[in-house]
């Protein structure tokens, strides 16, 4: 393991541990409003200051990290699994299946998802707790975010289908699901990993955007998305640099994730 990967591993572990220990590290909690000190600068009591209604920003970052680190990868897992199923299978089967799957994927990609998401949100019941709302949000993202990955996977699987070792496996009498599971899927793993990791920041940012449309995580629960929304309308970063912490954390964690992948996985 090279130094960069070791460092990435440490960073990821520290961030995960801190988010899990949020109850002890930030006993004020993410929802308590210190109304006498809204938008306060960092202090001994509030390490990263407070937000616009006086909630401890450090606590919100820790709890938000816990939610986003748990649910964004979960959503990415759902979307990657769906992509593997649709794209991987279609590429492996080839012919009409591939054409149909690509047509369907293209159609799916061309739909105005933003407007459909608004409609979906409008249809959901209003009286759901913040915890349920966050699960719904990331589930929707996972269920709808598979198409781009499926397009990539279908191309990779199509290339694999015609490769020499697959032909050899076929010639050896291997067919159907066994051929797919033993030879095709393991060779798609690097692409699947890459698609998985790429999806995580995409889903975090999508959640932030959905928050503006009312589809995000419900108050008072924090998420990286809702914390990033605080940067909206910031004119000068020099005045309140501590507000950039959620953004920096996102960059650091995503970079660590990328470094944790092996070279082969990334370049596949």
């Amino acid at each position: 393991m090279n130094l960069a990967r070791k460092l990435a591993c440490i960073v990821t572990l520290v961030v995960c541990a801190m988010s899990l220990a949020a109850n002890w590290l930030a006993p004020a909690g993410y929802a308590t409003q210190f109304r006498e000190a809204p938008s306060a600068a960092p202090s001994r009591q509030h390490w990263l200051g407070t937000d616009e209604v006086g909630r401890d920003r450090f606590a919100r970052v820790l709890y938000g990290t816990r939610i986003s680190l748990l649910l964004a990868p979960a959503a990415a897992l759902v979307s990657t699994a769906l992509a593997a199923l649709v794209g991987g299978l279609a590429g492996y089967l080839g012919g009409i299946w591939l054409r149909v799957a690509r047509g369907f994927t293209d159609l799916f990609l061309s739909l105005p998802w933003l407007f459909l998401l608004i409609t979906v949100r409008a249809l959901l019941p209003l009286n759901v707790s913040p915890t349920v709302s966050v699960l719904i949000t990331f589930l929707i993202l996972g269920l709808l975010g598979w198409a781009a990955s499926a397009r990539v996977l279908s191309t990779s699987a199509d290339a694999l289908r015609n490769s020499d070792f697959i032909l050899q496996a076929r010639a050896s009498g291997l067919h159907g699901a066994r051929l797919f599971l033993v030879h095709v899927l393991p060779n798609l793993k690097p692409v699947l990993y890459a698609q998985f990791w790429i999806s995580i920041p995409v889903f975090i940012l999508s959640e932030a955007n959905l928050g503006i449309l009312g589809l995000g995580v419900a108050e008072p629960l924090p998420s990286w998305g809702s914390l990033l929304r605080e940067l909206e309308g910031m004119i000068s970063f020099r005045e309140e640099p501590w507000r950039l912490v959620p953004l920096l954390l996102l960059i650091v964690v995503m970079t660590s994730f990328q470094l944790l992948l092996s070279n082969e996985e990334v370049t596949a």
Binding site: R35, P38, V128, E219, G233
Partner: protein, 548 residues
Amino acid sequence: MIARRFRILVGFALFFSLALGCFAQSGGELRFCLRSEPKTFDPLLVDDDASLSIRYLTGGVLARVNRHTQEIEPELAESWKVSKDGKQITFKLRRGVTFSDGSSFSAEDVAFTMQRLMDPALHSSTGDAFRSDKGTVSTKIIAPDQVAIIFPAPIAGLDRLFDQVAIMSAHSPKKEGAVLGPFMVAEYKAGSSVLLRRNPNYWKKDSQGRRLPYLDSIRLDIQSNRDVEMLRFRRGELDLINVLDSDYFDRLASTSAGLAHDAGASLDSDFLWFNQVASAPIPEYKRAWFHSANFRRAISQAINRDDLARVVFNGHAQPAVGPVSPANKFWFDSKLKAEAYRPDAALQRLQAEGFRLQNGALFDKGGNAVEFSIVTNAGSKPRERMAVMVQEDLGKLGIKVNVVTLDFPSLIERISQKFNYEAAMLGFRNVDLDPNGQMNIWLSSAEDHAWNPQQKSPETTWEAEIDQLMRAQASAADPKKRKESFDRVQEIVAEQAPIIYLVNQNALSAVSTAVAGANPGILSPQTFWNAERLTLNGNQNSPSQASR
């Protein structure tokens, strides 16, 4: 020697007065932003903010509400008389006035404008204010400078309604291009800007006999992004920001205190209400809570309005009292006070209704936990913050509140068509001082009767009383009687709390030091209501000067 000195002094005085005169007349170009594309340039069809601004700057009206004193003042009409029965208004018009294209102004133009305004086929929202009853509005030209307008039923506050009616030319081939206001539309680039130039035929002169307006032109850039608007103002590319959010206001005030203006409480209010529609798809026990005046009053008492004003609006808001802002000098009922934050009293009131607090959660008589959702529009940061603070305040009483932000069309559909919501938080942007402007809210049959709209007959006795009082004030000619009726409406609203008023935001604006004569007020348009008298001075330190 003395005569020579005197001549020199007179010479200097003449030079300076001429210089000052030239300076005032040279005017220059004022720049500010419209936050959306103007939908129309037809002054009778205006119903959006951008078009309203253009109508204000270009349209000539018979009488104008002074945005500073809130009094009605003569403009194109020298005087007017409202008949005792309140059905007729007779205007004596100013003579020698011409439109921007040179055509003369007469009673015929007023008659033409009113006939067009009241044409049902035009669907003018400005015209709706004059529709007091079935029947047609007629006009009678008594003389070239005298015209009477006759309505089928009395209209209260009739003269003030003419503040919104820009007179159009009956004969000019330029149609709405011929205007009587201080400026005229010279250029319109869709999606980019509107250029207004000085109307060379504008009738008004200043006290020294100089023809107004002082400015040469006004450039209105179409810019919906408030960050960009603020950035451009800071760079000196804009001279005014008509309406500022409290965040932007404080940022500006911290760096350039003289540019940010807080004119005090505006007419706008933010409020909360519970769904009381009989057919609404909500559980019966919740409907019973929402129908209880005690429950609504308790919620009102449990909300800390001072905190909302201080935290959400950084102190640039006032706890709201009721449907009329204290800024509305005549119509506000001064006997009323904003509901004080009293969580103990709120809990007692709830307990009297059979609610009980158990392990930190509130339950009703039937053992149902008190939980409801508040919907509000997504993207409005102040409202989202208020909802979060209300959530915490009510949480102290053991009430669980779920805050749901929805896109505006979905929200409107839920609160006005499907009635599929429990409580909603919205705001009311009030531009009309007169209570007639709120008829669409308080009449139980009205579409905007938020908590239970379009009732065939009033479902409660207090709503029936409000109906009767609103109709009484609308048909009374005596302002005192009208005030008495509307004061009682405000008292009923305070007792019943069908709408829980939260805050009145302050009127915040920004004016560059390059602009002289600005006196930002609370009524729209806050910064340029006296545009004809604004000048651009030569202050070298001003941000706008830097870019010119």
